[in-house]
Amino acid sequence: MADDLRWTDEVVDSGFFGTEGGDGAEALDPAVIDVIDELLTQAGPGREGLIRVLLAFQQTFDRVSWRVQELVADRFGLSPAQVAGVVSYYPKLSAQRRGRLKLDLCAGCGCFLRGGDRILESVTREAAERRSSADEPRLAVRRERCLGVCGLGPVVRVRNRIRARVEPGEAGALVDSLLGPAPEGEDER
């Protein structure tokens, strides 16, 4: 269920997640309610499961909106402020959408020494260009602590595939490869 809905614009913009300024009182798609219920019931009784649930929401809907935070708080018997405190602390959680076309750059030491910072610079610049010229708000450039393949740096992860030994000149092509349709067999994201 959650897989089918993941990353579709309909879900995120269904109103329930509070489009900016919305109060979340809009009518709900029953399927979305099911997903929320499913995610909430997967957690155990204790606070221990809080971060796991928040990560699941983040992954499914690209953010943990205020409305969802209230629901989660209710579920765990916490105040919304306590949940907001957790969401705002962790880099992988966010109340705002970050964009669903993700390009993950390794910011680990091995990649840094092989010029990873230059890749970061050029990819960020290319992405910003596309975002304004192609009106593509879905693009997100993320820095990961380390993608774990230090021998091959600098590495970039696009559509769940790691590209090894990236050159600064490839930045534009990498960003463009995210914008096109996903090649067969590759992750849509």
């Binding site: 880099p91 992988k92 970050r98 910011a107 993320r142 602590r145 393949v149 021998g151």
Partner: protein
């Protein structure tokens, strides 16, 4: 070596001999196309009438640490290692090697130092200088197959520990082994276990800490991807020894493949009675739950980690009380790194060695940077940095090595004259260094120690939980100062300020992250004073490395 060399002195490989072909399927080799090689090889091997071992099932193995040469294909019977294999090479391997017993010369690893081609593991300097004990099964066992691991000795030590020893006997043996915590300060493991076991409580926990502080090559990833059962076995023995019934395996979410394999391994172990209730028919119950981080885990600082596991903000707290006395939900909690846990089955596998012969043991070191062969290597404690950098990693090519940085973000930058330092806890401490997560970064002539220090300080500033001001404010001010120096805009008294600030942060921070945050700068200042000084007064960076670092590098993890 002639191309037409026969394997085993025979003309070919007979139909009745199953040839085991191990394809490295760690995340590095997969990124380079190992799975395509596997598919093609299987199809090709079937055509040639040669069966793959283990019922023709794909024989994938975990990481061998030689990622820069992946994808690796290894034929153990002939000790034949092919590097950088592409799907397009498979036909030649099948026809030439499997069919006619010849070596495909161009797929052998060529040592850039001597120009010699290496046939297998034994004549490859990267492997020959290692002593693989903790990683013994990585690259050998199929990490997704418990039966394969069992055939190679997994859970033998658990059996011995549970059926032949009592908890105090196990703790005694760990103490006598002299094992020290592999990450961080090298605390004696047996002592830690004894404290947890003796703390009065009805419930105790074991936490496997897979958040090695270093953003770099980590043993955690390799162990999880290559031999997850070794870690699980260590955890179960630890649980039995300290009287815990629950374990948490705390893993970085970046290590997706490792997490998936760990989850699978936990499920397999549970099904076969190595985990769960009544383990091996005894009255001992133990469960392992896998927890992923959401980032910002303070580089694995213990008290912060406990907060994350309890669903809170991952901030550190003052110690004491130590987690061994008051950890998860106030209960005694044993926290050990994954490499430490993977050492446990080795120690418990046999009778205690007289005279603490195991005291030394090994250390896994991730070598990266300006060397010919980067990768993850396991060396005996007492090996010198020089041996690792020059013999195993093959040195710096034509250039000179300018410096090495050991121990990750909180580690130390050592100069060329300190390369004879041995990898052991006390001699590193003498040099102001520590093993940390075991990252060994080699700087060439074009890498600037100031830029590297800045990189690590930026890591600490980002990771800082913000609880104590010396770390929260100090690391940010330190970073600004380093930026000033890097851009050539600093004056001589800025170096004095830098030095004083480093000492303040070191002396007044609450936890290890803050206490070590400035150590790359402190050791840099003492070993590379000239380099820092040449940055001053409009001089700029002599290697131009600093100027290349964009100022945006520390602006948030996400865009």
């Amino acid at each position: 070596m002639s191309e037409a060399m026969d394997l085993d002195g025979r003309g070919g490989v007979g139909d009745d001999d199953p040839v085991e072909i191990r394809i490295c399927a760690g995340s590095g080799c997969i990124a380079l196309g190992a799975l395509e090689v596997l598919e093609t090889l299987q199809a090709g091997a079937d055509d040639a009438g040669v069966r793959l071992e283990v019922d023709s099932r794909p024989c994938i193995v975990g990481c061998r640490g030689f990622c820069s040469q992946g994808p690796l294909v290894y034929l153990p019977r002939f000790d034949l290692l092919y590097c950088r294999v592409r799907a397009a090479d498979v036909d030649e391997i099948v026809q030439h090697t499997l069919g006619r017993g010849k070596i495909v010369d161009r797929l052998l690893y060529q040592d850039p130092v001597s120009g010699r081609r290496c046939r297998g593991l034994t004549d490859n300097p990267f492997f020959a200088g290692q002593q693989r004990r903790v990683l013994a099964r990585c690259g050998v066992v199929d990490p997704e197959d418990l039966d394969h691991a069992l055939a190679l000795g997994a859970y033998d030590s658990l059996r011995r520990s549970l059926l032949e020893l009592d908890p105090s006997g196990i703790i005694e043996q760990v103490k006598r082994s002299g094992l020290q915590e592999r990450g961080g300060s090298g605390f004696p493991v047996g002592l830690k276990w004894a404290v947890v076991a003796e703390a009065p409580a009805d419930t105790r926990y074991v936490v496997g800490n897979g958040e090695g502080g270093d953003p770099g090559l980590t043993v955690d990833r390799t162990l999880l991807e290559g031999d997850p059962h070794g870690v699980i076995e260590g955890m179960v023995i630890a649980g039995f020894a300290v009287g815990a019934r629950q374990g948490r395996l705390f893993l970085r979410s970046e290590h997706g493949l490792g997490i998936a394999r760990a989850k699978r391994a936990v499920a397999q172990a549970r099904r076969q009675g190595y985990l769960g209730s009544a383990i091996l028919g005894t009255a001992f119950d133990f469960e392992i739950e896998i927890c992923e981080t959401a980032g910002a885990s303070m580089g694995g600082e213990e008290t912060a980690l406990l907060n994350v596991l309890q669903g809170r903000r991952g901030v550190a707290r003052p110690r004491p009380p130590f987690p061994a006395v008051s950890g998860l939900w106030g209960r005694p909690t044993l926290i050990n790194g994954l490499e430490t846990l993977a050492n446990i089955p080795l120690i418990m596998g046999s009778e205690p060695q007289p005279g603490g012969a195991l005291a030394a043991g090994t250390k896994v070191v991730g070598v990266t940077g300006a060397v010919s062969r980067t990768g993850l290597v396991e060396v005996p404690i007492g090996t010198t940095i020089h041996e690792i950098v020059y013999e195993i990693a093959g040195g710096c090519g034509d250039g000179e090595i300018a410096a090495v940085h050991l121990g990750g973000p909180g580690g130390a930058t050592l100069g060329r004259d300190q390369l004879d330092t041995t990898i052991d806890f006390s001699s590193l401490r003498d040099q102001g260094a520590h093993l940390g997560s075991g990252g060994l970064v080699v700087l060439g002539e074009r890498n600037c120690p100031v830029a590297l220090a800045r990189f690590f300080v930026a890591f600490c500033a980002e990771e800082s939980c913000g609880t104590c001001p010396p770390c929260r404010i100090g690391t940010t001010v330190l970073l600004n100062l380093l930026d000033l120096i890097g851009s050539g805009a600093a004056a001589a008294d800025d170096l004095v300020r830098l030095e004083r600030l480093c000492q303040h942060i070191r002396k007044t921070s609450m936890c290890e992250l803050g206490r070590n945050a400035s150590s790359s700068v402190i050791t840099g200042l003492s070993n590379f004073r000239d380099t820092y000084e040449s940055h001053l007064s409009g001089g700029g960076c002599p290697t131009r490395d600093c100027e290349a670092a964009p100022s945006g590098i520390r602006s948030g993890v996400s865009e």
